[in-house]
């Protein structure tokens, strides 16, 4: 049977089992929207800005592991989506973005709402396609889903000219796909895995450093088993939180620029460091020169060969899918007669406890002003540590990472790589739609929330009852902190003057809100937000927090892991 390009597009999405498409209509995608109107296989969520469509698809993906889908029109629709695409790219999120394009004869003519979408997005997608021939439409969409979700995942964009959505062709959805130029490795090299296991068994001061790859590949179970089997301490990156339970005694929390003292010191002084689905980025190890000051052997497990030996040299590289490699390692360790040196391990863990006793996350608990850390501790307590927490970018993000102790993967959803302010609210929408019964909190700042505040309307339309935890300090807090530390307290443009009344704003969009000025009211407000009574209501909590609070510990730029500023 012959179908139009628009029908094919919609059929392909249904074939892929897509549940939600986040999008915004426009001229070039009208044919596709017309087909969406006629079908009931998936739901379309109308956002209020294309950036939010991509972030919502991203949040949906992070919370489920499935490929997120966004649909935007040509020109400004596509350019608005770029920040969202780049965000997903930096954090390796599987996603397919479908963009409309002007009709093929108009391409290159500076047509209305024309932009070179494939060109603009090329540096921030895993791959992209311009479909000029309707006969290639179905196979291209199949390829897009395949590429997005395999290997190191990432966003794939499919640009479809309007005339291609009108033309008709015989439709058949390919059952499988194979690309001669794309064959991601999954199984690690057996010899390298053996070497790695031997190195681990000989370690005196071992450290596991686990990143977002553990979350993306659903390897939390294997990671936890490996760490407990060996009795080795584990630190997680910002992207890896929840990959190993924060409540486990072997957890030393997050490492990096705002990581814990114990995590950073332990990584710095380890003799064998095993990096799992992590990439030694600048916010994690700081200056590589300083990282090299201490000698250690490094094992690096990653599905992306280009992540290995990019910033630091490693001794045992293992390219492969994390859960498969870890399963192999666990098997070998169990089969081995050797055990790690228990006396050395005990000394090492004692040393780590000594570092931990510095209590690097301490803050003033007797303050008359609301401390942001306190709000997050209470949020953890009241949600029983079981909420999905999205965040924006800045101080609140770091505090959420430090104080909400994640025991499960896919619960912590933030823009770690690109650092996109405006991510939290739309991402939370995707999370809540994926998990309608779950508690979803969006921890944000008054700077970030205003970058996609229009999505409060989307939340109303689609009954998305997320809880917005605004840590409002009337400053772009992280900018303010850097200005205080490194710019002689010259607070250039970091003060957020003339803020809206957020409670009234939430109410204007049809939601509920409360302003909290006093530490004594914090618990009550959170209880109210997560109460049965408010279960189906979006609640916007505007916490007026301490304006001068800083995120500690902190590794200043260009320094190493052992050079933290502590409270």
């Amino acid at each position: 049977m012959e179908l139009t390009g628009a029908e094919i597009t919609v059929r392909c999405l249904a074939e892929e089992g897509v549940e939600y498409v986040f999008g915004y209509p426009g001229g070039a995608v009208l044919n596709i929207y017309d087909e969406i109107y006629k079908q009931d296989k998936f739901k379309h969520v109308l956002v209020r800005h294309e950036q939010a469509a991509v972030h919502a698809a991203d949040g949906y993906s992070r919370a489920t592991g499935r490929t997120g889908v966004a649909l935007v029109t040509s020109g400004p629709g596509a350019t608005n989506a770029v920040t969202g695409i780049a965000t997903a790219y930096m954090d390796s999120i599987p996603m397919v973005v479908i963009s409309g394009q002007v009709p093929t004869p108009a391409i290159g003519m500076d047509a209305f709402q024309e932009v070179d979408t494939v060109g603009i997005t090329r540096p921030c997608v895993k791959h992209n396609f311009l479909v000029k021939d309707i006969r290639e439409l179905a196979s291209t969409i199949k390829k897009a889903f395949y590429i997005a979700s395999t290997g190191r995942p990432g966003p794939v964009l499919v640009d479809i000219p309007k005339d291609v959505t009108q033309f008709t062709t015989e439709y058949e959805y390919p059952k499988s796909i194979s690309l001669r130029s794309y064959n991601p490795v999954t199984k690690g090299h057996t010899g390298q895995i053996k070497r790695a296991v031997q190195m681990l068994l000989n370690a005196k001061r071992p450290m596991i450093y686990a990143g977002g790859g553990v979350i993306l590949s659903d390897a939390a179970k294997q990671l936890t088993e490996l760490a407990r089997l060996l009795g080795f301490p584990c630190t997680n990156t910002l992207m890896g939180l929840g990959g190993f339970p924060a409540s486990d005694p072997l957890s030393v929390g997050m490492l990096g620029m705002h990581g814990t003292y114990e995590a950073n010191m332990a990584v710095h002084h380890s003799d064998v460091l095993v990096a799992i689905g992590a990439r030694f980025d600048d916010r994690v190890i700081g200056n590589p020169e300083h990282f090299y000051q201490e000698e250690r052997q490094i094992i690096h497990i990653d599905i992306d060969p280009s992540s290995i030996s990019k910033r630091v040299k490693v001794d045992v590289p293992i390219v492969g899918n994390v859960p498969e490699v870890l399963t192999e390692m666990i098997k070998l360790i169990k089969a081995s007669k050797e055990k790690p040196d228990q006396a050395a391990l005990k000394t090492w863990l004692t040393q780590i406890e000594l570092w931990r006793s510095r209590d690097c996350l301490k803050y003033d608990r007797n303050s008359d002003i609301i401390k942001p850390q306190f709000v997050l501790e209470k949020l953890h307590e009241i949600t029983g540590g079981d909420a999905f927490v999205t965040s924006d970018v800045g101080q609140h993000q770091m505090w959420a990472a430090q104080f909400y102790k994640f025991d499960k993967p896919r619960r912590w959803i933030n823009s770690g790589g690109l650092g996109t302010m405006g991510f939290g609210l739309p991402a939370a929408m995707g999370v809540q739609l994926a998990h309608p019964e779950a508690m979803v909190a969006c921890v944000t700042g008054e700077g970030s929330i205003q970058m996609n505040i229009q999505e409060l309307a989307t939340c109303k339309q689609f009954n998305i009852p997320i809880k917005i935890i605004l840590l409002n300090n009337r400053y772009l807090g992280m900018v303010r902190q850097w200005q205080e530390f490194f710019y002689g307290e010259r607070y250039a443009e970091s003060y957020m003057d003339t803020l809206p009344d957020f409670v009234k704003l939430a109410e204007a969009y049809g939601h509920a809100g409360r302003r909290i000025d006093n530490p004594a009211e914090v618990e009550d407000a959170l209880k109210w937000a997560f109460s049965a009574e408010m279960k189906d209501t979006l609640v916007f909590l505007d916490f007026r927090t301490d304006q001068t609070e800083n995120v500690y510990p902190m590794i200043p730029g260009g320094k190493g892991l052992s050079e933290m500023i502590l409270v």
């Binding site: 060109g119 090329r122 540096p123 690309l179 130029s181 060969p305 280009s306 030996s309 040299k313």
Partner: protein, 163 residues
């Protein structure tokens, strides 16, 4: 160190810009880049001449491999290989230059492929340094125009780059 990297890519629109974009986005050097379809017209063969430390070259080959359209990458500098570049040079060919230019072209095994009263156009192939040497040897005031293709490379003997 100078490296000559060969790659086979799907002959898709945009493949060249993916490679060029990768080099500029990651700040890698690119001395020359040549590209054309192969005997299998679904594939293009590209030769890139670049410079960098061992670590940088390792990253370059990994990043090239990561491109979805890349079928195969090989650093020809890792083994025995041949490289050739084509150059067209237009020179003055009046008066005393006429004999001199013919002689120079012969010495460097060039071929004069276009002749006017005032100019010769010389075609020359060879490794890049030979072409450099020819330009070096010419009197600059006789040199009117040069155009070079950049290097193409191939492994020696049984060393074959195929999908």
């Amino acid at each position: 160190m100078r490296h000559i990297i060969s790659l086979l890519m799907e002959n898709e629109a945009g493949a060249l810009s993916r490679v060029a974009g990768l080099f500029s986005a990651r700040g890698y050097n690119i001395e020359s880049l040549t590209v054309a379809p192969t005997e299998d017209e679904t594939m293009s063969r590209m030769t890139i001449v670049t410079r960098g430390s061992d670590e940088v070259i390792e990253q370059i080959t990994k990043q090239l491999n990561k491109l979805i359209d890349t079928v195969k990458v090989v650093d020809l500098s890792d083994g025995e290989h041949i490289e050739r570049e084509l150059m067209l040079v237009k020179v003055r060919a009046e008066g005393e230059w006429r004999e001199e230019m013919k002689r120079m072209s012969d010495i460097f095994r060039g071929r004069i492929i276009d002749v006017t009263d005032k100019t010769y156009t010389i075609e020359m192939t060879g490794a890049g340094h030979k072409l450099d040497a020819f330009l070096e040897a010419l009197d600059k005031s006789a040199l009117l125009e040069t155009v070079r293709t950049g290097a193409s490379g191939i492994g020696r003997g049984e060393r074959i780059l195929k999908s």
